[in-house]
Structures are given as C-alpha cells and as structure tokens.
C-alpha cells in the first residue's frame, strides 16, 4: 500500500516535471529525459564521480566531526546542568543564525579548500546534533533513574545503563537531521566558494547554459542525500529495534 503510494507519488512528480518542461515554464527548463541523459553523460565522462569524491570528503569530515563533537557535548550539557544552561544560549544563537553568513568568515580564516567546506558542513549540522543529544538527556524518565538508584547504581552505571539508552532515540533523530543539514551546508559552501565538488559542477553548468547538466547534478545530490539518510535509517532501526 505504502509502496504503491510512493511509486505513484514519484510518477506524479515526473509527469508534472515533464509537463513543466513542455509548456515550457522557461526556455531553459530541461525535461526529465534530457536530465537523465545528461546525468548518464556526466557519470560516463567521469566529471560527476570526481566531483562526488571531493564533496563526500568535505561531507564526511564536517559531518563526522559534528557527530563526534556534538553528541558528547550534548551529553555533557545534559548531565552537568550548569554547562547546559550556559552552552544552550550559544546553541540557540547558532541555530537562529543564517549559517551561510559564516561562509566569508570561514574563507578568511581557513582559506578555500576541502577543509573550509568541511568547516561549513560542521557549522550547519553540529548545533542540531548537540541540541538533540542534550534534549535526550533532559528527557530521561526520572522514574527509571530512581529505579536504578534503588538498585544502588553508581553514577557511571546510571549514565551507561539509563541515561545513554534513554537518550539514544533523540540522539539519532538529531544525527539524522544533522545529516540533512550537512548536505545543505555542503552545497552552499561549494556554490559560494569552492573551485571543486558538486557545487562547482552546478555553477559551471549554469554559467555555460547547460541546464540539463545542472539539473542532473542537483538530482544526483538529492539521490546521494536520500541514500545516506536511508543508510542511517537502517542503522537506527537496528539499534532501536525495541521501538516497534
């Protein structure tokens, strides 16, 4: 049922796209078929795989750091209340800030390279990863803590056996959202600054009026993000099996 609905929605989207290309919405608007052809051509020429490799490096570096820093930081914020009260303010500010505004600052301080894209990816995803880990700790059921204390649990045991598993679903939700944000950050960084990667490919195609190629790259990025999110979803489903 859900599968059929999904297939139908994809089909509807493609039809709408085809219709928009035929009207045409704009002279430059490519049809789905032309986009697909461009995608195949880009993969064959090696331009897309090369750009992907570079972009994925920035993504993994920035997002990996966001998880490795954000989750522990959020946990510490949750467990040590004063730290949470103070850090919370900065996180809220970071989330309210249009992160793209940080790009010039990053260019000035890091330069233009894979690392600068990674820093921007980090800035986009880390606040959400952190905030969710923090929220996960704050949401631990006090009764479970009391139960463990009644069994004379040490502080370490309380954390490992009650706090961490309780917070895990929210940590995962944060990581998943952080990954979507990481893709947004990646493309913004590459559009604005980098002379390489998928963003660069989009910009090059645009400047040469090869709109089918531009769309193909956007579509490719979308597929990449969807695949990454699905992979994460699988890990999550396995770790949180009890939530069915």
């Amino acid at each position: 049922m859900i599968l059929a609905l999904r297939a139908a929605s994809v089909l509807a989207f493609l039809l709408l796209w085809e219709w928009a290309a035929r009207v045409p919405v704009s002279f430059n608007f490519p049809s789905p078929l032309a986009t697909l052809a461009a995608l195949v051509a880009l993969v064959r020429s090696g331009a897309l795989p090369a750009a992907t490799l570079i972009s994925v490096q920035s993504l993994l570096l920035g997002f990996g750091a966001a998880v490795l820093v954000g989750v522990p930081l959020g946990l510490v914020m949750g467990v040590v209340r004063p730290v949470g009260r103070v850090a919370r303010v900065y996180l809220d500010l970071l989330i309210a800030l249009p992160t793209a505004a940080l790009v010039p600052l990053v260019i000035l301080s890091v330069g233009i390279n894979v690392l600068s894209s990674a820093v921007i990816v980090f800035a986009f995803s880390a606040p959400f990863v952190t905030l969710n880990a923090y929220g996960g700790v704050r949401d631990v059921r006090p009764r479970l803590v009391e139960m463990a204390r009644a069994f004379d649990a040490s502080r370490g045991q309380l954390f490992a056996r009650i706090v961490l598993p309780s917070a895990l679903p929210m940590i995962f939700a944060g990581v998943r959202y952080g990954l979507s944000r990481a893709f947004v950050g990646l493309i913004i960084a590459e559009l604005l600054l980098s002379p390489f990667g998928l963003g660069r490919l989009i910009m090059t195609a645009r400047s040469m009026f090869e709109h089918d190629q531009m769309f193909a790259t956007v579509l490719w990025t979308l597929l990449l993000a969807a695949a990454a999110l699905a992979g994460l979803g699988r890990i999550e489903a396995r770790l949180l099996r009890w939530r069915v």
Binding site: L144, A148, R161, W242
Partner: protein, 261 residues
C-alpha cells in the same frame, strides 16, 4: 507458580525500625515523628488518604529519600542511601523499554557485577517464579500491565532481597488480573520469606495480604492507627474474601479512613 527448591545461600529476611522519622519538602511536612517496627518476614501494609506520605515513607526505607530527622534501620544498617537489602516494586513498573524481559530482570544483577551465565540463569528462574516463562525475549511494550508488573516483581526478586518494598504495585492493573496477582504474590511470599512493606489505597487489598496494617493520617503524615489482621494463612481467595472476619476488618478500616478524609 512452580515450587522451586530454595536456592543455596538464600538470605534471611530483615526487620525494619523507624524511630522519630520526620521529612519535610520545602514547607510541607510529609512525615512527622514516625515510630514503626516491621518484624523480619512480616507482611505490612501502609494505607491512608492520598498525600499522607505513604510513598515518602517507603522511599525513606529504600534510602531513596533521606530523612530529615530520626533513624531508619534495616537489619542492622542505618539507612542513609540505597543498599542491597531492599528491592523496590514501582506502581508504574519502571521497566527499561529498550530491554527484553530477560534483560530487564537481569538489571539489578548487572549493576551488582554478577557474571553473565549466572545472571541469565538467575533471571530465568525469577521469570519462571512470577509465571512469565516463555516471555523472556518479549519487550515491555508487548506485554499487558499485569505482565509488566510481573516483570517488575521478577526483577526485584532476582537480586534475592531481604526486604521487598512495594509502592502501590497493583494500582494500575485491572481488578481480575489484580486478584490473581495478589494470590500469586502471597504464594511467592510464603515460599521466599521476605519482609514486605506494601503501600496501597485499597482496603480489601491491605486486609487480604497483610499481617498488620498501618493507617497514616495526612498532612503531616503520622501513624494514626495500627490494625492487626488475624486472618489465618494461607488465605484462599474465595473463602477468606467471603468470610465474616474479612468483611468486618475491611469495614473497621473504612471507619478509620473515613474520619481521616
């Protein structure tokens, strides 16, 4: 409930003594000058209007909520923090939703550093004792309320406590399930010989289960009256509940409680 041969080294039940216990939350006096003795192996019920400090008293015995004045002694230990003599059964079960029945029951043993093989065997025995054999791999969310509380009881018993503290354990369980559970609890208690302190707001339950009933008065919580329950044991459900002595005791209890409302 299978009758198992007692495990070797089963620990003897302990007595509980409270002397001049008081507890305040902010400006609210929860407990005032409570003196109470629970004999080793006794089944004691605590009853009283809501807000009378029954749960506070139970937590004081468990060491979860230190008292402001007076002394709580379990066995020979003066209680200031949780210890290994007591297990607590909670009204809302307090099960780990991410763990199977087996892992939930193992919880106390894990915290005490019991090895994996012994832990698994002990937990399985405990699960069988409460009548849940076959549900080891189920998650709490897949069980009914009554079954979840059986898991809570199995977890409490797995660490072989000398005192069992039960905080309105059957309050969120439907009447029919509760009656069966009450009989099972009595059967277990007669086998295991634990000191039990049982908080309830059901008069029938207090009379049916306990040797003695402590009636607490509310705000501030004091021992209002102590009621002996001289009904013979074992108490078979049908006979005892229908008997005149039972009805009279429930009625006495009601007369006391009504004045306290």
């Amino acid at each position: 409930m299978a009758t198992a041969t007692p495990a070797p080294g089963r620990r003897e039940p302990l007595s509980i003594t409270l002397a001049g216990v008081s507890k305040t939350f902010g400006t609210l006096q929860a407990l005032v000058d409570i003196d109470l003795h629970v004999g080793a192996g006794e089944f004691l019920a605590l009853i009283g209007p809501s807000g009378c400090g029954k749960t506070t008293l139970l937590k004081a015995i468990a060491g979860l909520s230190p008292v402001d004045a007076g002394r709580v002694v379990v066995g020979t230990r003066s209680v200031t923090r949780p210890g290994r003599e007591c297990s607590v059964v909670f009204q809302d079960f307090a099960l780990l939703p991410w763990a199977t029945v087996q892992r939930n029951v193992e919880f106390g043993l894990v915290l005490r550093g019991v090895g994996a093989a012994e832990r698994a065997a002990t937990a399985r025995r405990s699960i069988a004792k409460v009548g849940l054999a076959g549900f080891e791999e189920a998650y709490p969310s897949q069980l009914s309320g009554g079954m979840q509380q059986r898991v809570g009881l199995a977890r409490a018993l797995a660490v072989d406590p000398q005192v069992l503290l039960m905080d309105e354990p059957f309050a969120s369980i439907d009447e029919q399930t509760r009656r069966v559970f009450q009989d099972d609890l009595l059967a277990l208690w007669s086998e295991e010989r634990k000191t039990v302190v049982f908080v309830t707001h059901s008069m029938e339950e207090a009379v049916y289960l306990s040797d003695r009933i402590i009636v607490l008065s509310p705000r501030p919580g004091r021992v209002h009256q102590v009621l002996d329950v001289p009904l013979p044991r074992p108490r078979d459900s049908a006979d005892v509940r229908a008997g005149l002595a039972f009805t009279r005791l429930v009625d006495d209890l009601w007369k006391i409680l009504r004045k306290l409302q």
